[in-house]
């Protein structure tokens, strides 16, 4: 862990203007609103949040697909917004992207061979036989064997799991150093999910990738990453190692989340879950102060609804944005 950080996100804001015909701007959706974190090469981190929490927007900002309104994404010490087009192309070759819907992520009119060849052709890698070699290796790595059978296939001929493996093969064929996986298994069947996640983990370990696993599912994150960042309403409310976070969740939202996640247990049927009332706020008009305060069981009037909590670090490496930890105490 002595490595230099590979990726640094510094006070990142991504806003979307809502356009309304004839009425000018109808407002700004603050999809990511002041997010900071640092990740090292070879690390596997999960960004956990509900839909609409801004986690996918964060992923796209890291991938350079969104333009931040404020703040920076810094890769290897180079801020993305300062990259020239040529350097941007280099940056894109340094990252892989795995999307949620494997079928949608593959052009339906291209064969597997062409799909995998596209990044190589675009980045002018190797000669034709060299590219073919790379494509075959990539397919072998994701265990789509015999390779011959899969090369000429079109996406619709593959099962969901196989499609997602093609996506993974494509995302790693440029041998990137950063892999962003946005809900890579949420559209797959339970029995296949683990397979895909194991594959991602294997790729991450084999190539010493920085893996950012975006998910709503804390339980899978637990098994496949070392660090978890919890996102709520466009902000990161807590970040810690998996053990710290699960054994000792600090933020009231994280606690509620953990409590709400069911396990296959017949006891469940007999008990009611303790769920915080209400729903996540609108990102058009987020609440003042801490964004969780209207739902928070530990709400402190005059503090939580007034000032936004900064990140506190009550334990080493365990950051939490909550006024409860202003003085650094740790409840357990």
């Amino acid at each position: 862990m002595q490595d230099e950080p590979l990726l640094e996100v510094r006070d990142l804001h991504v806003w979307f203007g809502l356009r309304r015909w004839g009425f000018g701007h109808a407002g700004v959706v603050r999809a990511v609103d002041g997010v900071s974190f640092t990740l090292r090469p070879g690390e596997a981190a999960a960004v956990v949040g509900e839909s609409g929490s801004g986690k996918s927007t964060l992923a796209k900002a890291i991938l350079g697909l969104n333009r931040p309104a404020k703040g920076q994404v810094i890769f290897e010490g180079k801020p993305l917004d300062s990259l020239k087009p040529r350097e941007m192309r280099w940056y894109r070759s340094q990252l892989g992207y795995v999307q949620q819907d494997p079928y949608g992520a593959l052009p339906p009119f291209m064969s597997v061979r062409r799909i995998l060849g596209e990044p190589l052709v675009i980045n002018k890698v190797g000669s034709k036989p060299e590219r073919e070699q790379r494509i075959r290796e990539a397919l072998e790595e994701v265990k789509l064997t015999p390779v011959e059978d899969f090369l000429p296939k079109f996406p619709h001929m593959l099962s969901g799991g196989q499609q997602q493996r093609v996506v993974i093969a494509r995302s790693t064929i440029m041998q990137p150093r950063l892999l962003v996986a946005d809900e890579p298994v949420s559209m797959l069947d339970a029995s296949v999910r683990v397979e895909i996640l194991e594959l991602l983990q294997k790729q991450q370990e084999a190539h010493n990738l920085l893996l950012i696993y975006i998910t709503h599912d804390l339980s899978t994150a637990r098994h496949f990453v070392q660090r978890i960042l919890v996102m709520y309403a466009a902000k990161i409310v807590e970040q810690a190692s998996v053990e710290q976070l699960l054994d000792n969740p600090l933020h009231p939202y994280t606690r509620a989340l953990i409590a709400a996640i069911p396990e296959p247990d017949p006891e469940n049927a007999a008990t009611f879950k303790d769920v915080p009332p209400g729903e996540p706020p609108s990102l058009l008009h987020p609440p003042t102060g801490c964004r969780f305060h209207p739902r928070c069981p530990a709400f402190m009037k005059g503090i939580c609804d007034v000032k936004e909590p900064p990140d506190f670090e009550p334990q080493v490496g365990h950051l939490v944005a909550c006024w409860l930890y202003e003085r650094g105490q740790v409840e357990s």
């Binding site: 697909l65 894109r92 070759s93 052009p107 009119f109 596209e118 675009i122 996506v167």
Partner: protein, 443 residues
């Protein structure tokens, strides 16, 4: 895509449509091979005596298949072949030549015209000929004497004096009429034309050709200029298919690419494409084409270009735009951006191919629309000046009052072909629509 096309075999209507289109294509290919381009132009321009042996406004031969019809075909007899020719030396330079052109006439109606063509060889003194008409019942009618100049022609049908001798009937009727019959009807049997000539020079010679024009000719009949309409139908098929296909391909692909560009870049590019489209949708296309045709050029290639240009900014650009707006948001486009694909690559290799399956059925039905447009222009007199096309046949028919005079076949050929084209492509297009839009399949 290929599997989708293979699916077509499950739809009988598609198979019928395909059969129709293949037949048309076969006809077009046959036409172009059998009658090369220059030959087609020469034939259609007419001129000279290319069509002189064809009857005027003859019906197609197949009308004889209908019961009760036994209309005459054209009979051509020549002293060079078929007829008999005897040359006798009378004295010195003087020779007599006796040509007998006999034929068996077994039709129920009269020929439409009679012409005699002379082909004499002489230096100074043209041969002299006496003509006689022998009927099956043994009558011998004198058709007159004449001195035969170079490429002399005796238009028997136009001989007013002869007509007066034949009870006022036109010669082609009077010569064949049965005098015993109460009404005018042809006498069947052996007719002979006798030409007794005198040659006055050494080396002089005389040949005679008799053309008894029928009332039927070929597959499609002939027009007012004796041209065989089949030529125009064959070549018209090729021109129509080529025009329809090129216009459809050209406008569809351009529309697709322009729609994709508008959607991808958005902003003013999109807005200006939209405005141009709206403007173009308001402006009527036909008058523009008529203006171009009258003021600039009626060449089919110029018209094709204008049609494509007008077709690009058509309502379909709005349809494609709606689809592209969805495609633009697809994850795979996002992925391609993430691995560094450039704008042009995304538009041409990622967006456009996605929409082609949607386009194909519409594209197939677009072809006949352009075929009809070309035909309409030709009917309005704006057809290509040199090429024989369906539309021009219709135009000729209309100009010469074909329907008023009962020349239905003149309109029938091109009209049927136009309908077959429309039907064939529509049948394929509708079946394709079912395949490419599976939601329609169960309905």
């Amino acid at each position: 895509m290929m599997t989708a096309l293979w699916e077509l075999r499950r739809y009988p209507s598609a198979l019928v449509g395909l059969a129709l289109i293949l037949t048309l294509t076969g006809v077009a290919i046959y036409g172009v091979i059998a009658i090369p381009y220059n030959e087609a132009l020469r034939l259609w321009r007419g001129g000279g005596d290319i069509w002189i042996e064809h009857p005027r406004n003859a019906q197609p031969e197949w009308v004889n298949l209908f019961p009760g019809n036994n209309l005459p075909k054209t009979i051509i007899l020549s002293s060079r072949e078929g007829g008999t020719k005897r040359v006798q030396v009378e004295s010195g330079e003087l020779k007599s030549v006796q040509i007998s052109l006999g034929f068996d006439y077994r039709y129920d109606d009269f020929p439409s015209e009679l012409n005699l063509f002379f082909d004499p060889k002489f230096k100074e003194r043209p041969p002299h000929v006496s003509l006689f008409w022998l009927t099956p019942d043994g009558r011998r009618l004198t058709l007159g004497d004449r001195s035969v100049g170079p490429s002399e022609r005796y238009a028997v049908s136009l001989d007013q004096r002869l007509a007066r001798r034949l009870d006022g009937n036109p010669p082609e009727v009077g010569l064949f009429a049965d005098p015993a019959a109460p009404t005018l009807q042809p006498l069947k049997g052996e007719y002979t034309l006798l030409a007794e000539g005198l040659l006055f020079e050494k080396g002089a010679d005389l040949d005679v050709r008799l053309v008894v024009y029928g009332q039927v000719h070929g597959l499609a009949g002939t027009d007012h200029l004796r041209r065989d309409i089949t030529v125009a139908l064959l070549w018209g098929t090729a021109v129509a298919l080529a025009f329809g296909l090129l216009a459809a391909v050209g406008s569809s692909i351009c529309t697709l690419i322009i729609a994709a560009i508008g959607v991808w870049y958005g902003g003013w590019a999109d807005a200006s494409i939209q405005r141009v489209t709206e403007l173009n949708m308001i402006l009527p296309a036909l008058p523009i084409l008529i203006l171009v045709g009258t003021l600039y050029s009626r060449s089919i290639w110029v018209i094709l270009g204008i049609v494509i240009l007008l077709g690009i900014f058509s309502a379909s650009i709005k349809v494609y735009r709606a689809i592209f707006l969805q495609v633009r948001e697809s994850p795979y486009i996002e992925a391609s951006r993430a691995y560094g694909a450039g704008n042009l690559r995304i538009i041409l290799l990622y967006m456009v191919p996605r929409v082609i399956p949607v386009l194909v059925p519409g594209f197939v039905t677009l072809i006949p629309a352009f075929v009809f447009l070309e035909a309409s222009l030709a009917i309005l007199g704006l057809g290509d000046p040199v090429l024989p096309t369906w539309g021009k046949v219709l135009n000729d028919a209309q100009q010469n009052g074909a329907l008023y005079k009962g020349y239905y076949y003149w309109v029938l050929g091109p009209a049927v072909l136009l309908m077959i084209t429309g039907l064939g492509f529509a049948m394929i297009g509708l079946s394709m629509d079912r395949i490419f839009n599976p939601r329609l399949r169960e309905l």
